[in-house]
Amino acid sequence: MSKNNAFVRFDKVDKSYDGKLLVVKDLNLDIAEGEFITMLGPSGSGKTTCLMMLAGFETPTNGEIYLDSNPISNIPPHKRGIGMVFQNYALFPHMTVFENLAFPLKVRKMTKDDIDKKVDKALSMVSLSGFENRMPGQLSGGQQQRVAVARALVFDPSVVLMDEPLGALDKNLRESMQYEIKHIHESIGVTVVYVTHDQSEALTMSNRIAVFNDGKVQQLSSPDKLYEEPVNSFVAEFIGENNRFDGEVLEVSNGVCKVKIGQGEMLANPISVKSKGEKTTVSIRPERALINPKNKMDNNQKGRIEEVIYHGDHTRVRINLLGNSDFILKVPNSSQNLDIKLGNEINIGWNSQDARALDPK
């Protein structure tokens, strides 16, 4: 069976609730079969709206959504065969766990034996065998969450949507559930569209991440690329930690540009700048800049240590660099004999490749 690379397809989808404001703007997104894709973005960025359009609870104002090459805008939600895990689980409180799981099978008129088998299988998948006769109210948050996942999967849907399913859980439980959902996805190979505003969740779980802002997909790529190679300053700011310099391009040549920042200058990687005189924001990840580098790096500046914060496995050092007093450096605790003391002037180096000159903010 060949893999369909556009199993779910958003084609020029617009969505507006009031006819004045576009919540989703010209969305084009292809989701491959069996992929775990995450829609990540701040609240109000349109990611949940996209999910609701896919599930059928909202209709696109313009454009079309395709599921396995079939347009689905006119298909009501119950005929789409898409599983969904809701933010607050939405377990039916008046039904037992078994009845909750049997609901999608019963409406599909399966025989009793099939239902029993499938429910058993789904419950053992989320390691909740033996909980059949409990009511949802008697379960803990994590258990309810697993029942919700099992219910969304029990009828073998081709696509499962998850709308911030772990939002209500505490940190430890959330992390273990992340792995559990990831493993379930890997073992049954279902296509998952996951919505969250938690970037670490997105980075841990997904094959690809679509970063939403302002109704648009800002970047769609794998977690590592998203972190290492953000294509614009929103993504750079939103994903992980980021050091930012606002400046003006002095010249661009041979894949390197010179940027004037305050009184100083630096070499940077021109991602979205083309010519001299453009305004730009340069983004550098904290772990890409080194103190007293041994190897030669093409950017070298002196900075003054403003603050030292101990973090266990690493130390964070806030440095005043090129007029930016919020420049953060991460120093692993294994790197000894560095002279990190408040007020010291130190040498800092980084490669122009890691200083990405993006759109101005």
Binding site: G56, H78, R80, N88, L91, P104
Partner: protein, 417 residues
């Protein structure tokens, strides 16, 4: 291990239970004092009147007090043949006193409840007894009217001998204890109360049903609409609720009468001819329409309060799992609203079963309920003991309905708000 050794002691050596009781005693007294006024109020305004009502409904001392000698003399009489001379004599002596006190009218009224025809012969006796000679009262009394020679009238008097009676309750369901002491139904032409009970149940049932059918969509809309619209709708529901009951009933009279607005409209759209306007008032239709409208908020509010707590994502979950909108509604939404339905139906039914003012105004003859009958006996016929008996029967009926309801739905499942 014995129980003694298991007892936990505080550090001072006092058993923990005792210590706890001591500590909570003050709070308990405080709590009791807080409820005391309400308790007292309930006792005075609710428990005592109901107790008094019960006593009144079974009390039959009036006749016993008016004819003391007669009833003593009657003790030996077996009731088959006409009573012996002693009974006639005792009755004459008792009645003489009543005539003197001018209270024989009351006796006439009471005995007439028991058997028709007493009033005229007692009046006649009051006139004639002045000329009675001493001795042989049996002959003299029987001469006054031939009914006095009829043993059934004497039996009727004897039936009123006991201090307490349940005859009012029997009357409430169109039964009576006949001469032989058997409980039988009254003549078919005089069976009014049974019909009224059934009509009351029927009207209460249908009013509840109509209220439910109309309130469910309203409550659903109220619970799902955005705030600014739902507030407006809520005011529309509550506005009539805040209007006086009389005003609302009166406005229904304006609307429903034969020359009223609704009829004008029917004629205007050609549904009825002008000379053939339907009667929508002073019958059951009027009662149904007005009572449904008046009781509607009592259904809407409990339903709304329950629906408000049902997350909209549950319906979505039902649909996304493959249920058609109807299946999602029926299997997911509806079962979750049952506590509200239970509360609303119970509230409306119980209110409807004792409804008085609206049926009295728009009900006419065929639309009145048992409470109207109770009111009639309170105010017009002045048979308070019968009114009390029916009032208590109504109360018992409501309690019985509540009991059945508890068995079916479970009171724990009711949510009043």
């Amino acid at each position: 291990m014995s129980k003694e050794t298991q007892k936990i002691l505080t550090t001072d050596g006092i058993p923990l239970e005792e210590s706890l009781k001591k500590a909570e005693k003050k709070n308990k007294i405080k709590a009791f004092l807080l409820v005391a006024p309400l308790l007292l109020y309930l006792l005075i305004t609710y428990i005592f009147p109901i107790g008094d009502m019960f006593l009144r409904s079974v009390d039959d001392k009036m006749v016993t007090r008016m004819l003391p000698k007669t009833f003593i003399a009657m003790e030996k009489w077996d009731g088959r043949e006409l009573p012996p001379e002693e009974v006639f004599e005792a009755f004459y002596l008792d009645y003489k006193i009543l005539v003197k006190e001018k209270s024989f009218g009351k006796l006439a009224t009471q005995l007439n409840y028991e058997k028709n025809g007493f009033k005229s012969i007692l009046k006649k006796l009051a006139r004639k007894q002045k000329k009675f000679k001493e001795g042989n009262y049996k002959e003299q009394i029987m001469k006054v009217h031939k009914r006095w020679a009829n043993v059934e009238y004497w039996r009727a008097i004897k039936r009123r001998a006991p201090n307490y009676t349940y005859s009012k309750y029997l009357k409430g369901i169109d039964m009576y204890e006949n001469e032989d002491g058997k409980i039988v139904q009254v003549d078919e032409t005089r069976r009014v109360h049974k019909k009224l009970w059934l009509r009351t149940l029927e009207i209460a049932f249908f009013v509840t049903l109509f209220c439910f059918l109309m309130a469910y969509p309203i409550a659903h809309l109220l619970a799902t609409l955005p705030m600014k619209y739902s507030n407006l709708l809520m005011i529309c529901v509550l506005l009539p609720f805040w209007t006086s009951l009389l005003v609302r009933t009166a406005s229904w009279m304006i609307l429903l009468q034969q020359q009223g607005i609704v009829n004008d409209f029917f004629v205007w759209i050609g549904l009825f001819a002008d000379d053939n306007r339907p009667e929508m008032m002073y019958n059951k239709t009027g009662t149904y329409v007005a009572m449904t409208q008046i009781l509607l908020p009592f259904m809407v509010l409990p339903l709304y309060s329950v629906m408000k707590t049902i997350s909209p994502s549950l319906m979505r979950a039902g649909k996304s799992l493959g249920g058609t909108p109807f299946v999602a509604f029926w299997k997911v939404y509806f079962p979750l609203t049952i506590p509200g339905i239970g509360a609303g139906c119970l509230l409306v039914f119980i209110l409807a079963i004792g409804y008085y003012i609206t049926p009295a105004l728009v009900g006419g003859a065929s639309g009145t309920l048992i409470s109207n009958q109770i009111a009639y006996h309170m105010k017009s016929s002045l048979d308070w003991s019968f009114a009390s008996a029916m009032g208590l029967m109504l109360l018992a009926g409501v309690l019985a309905i509540y009991w059945v309801y508890n068995k079916l739905v479970g009171v724990d499942n009711i949510k009043l708000g």
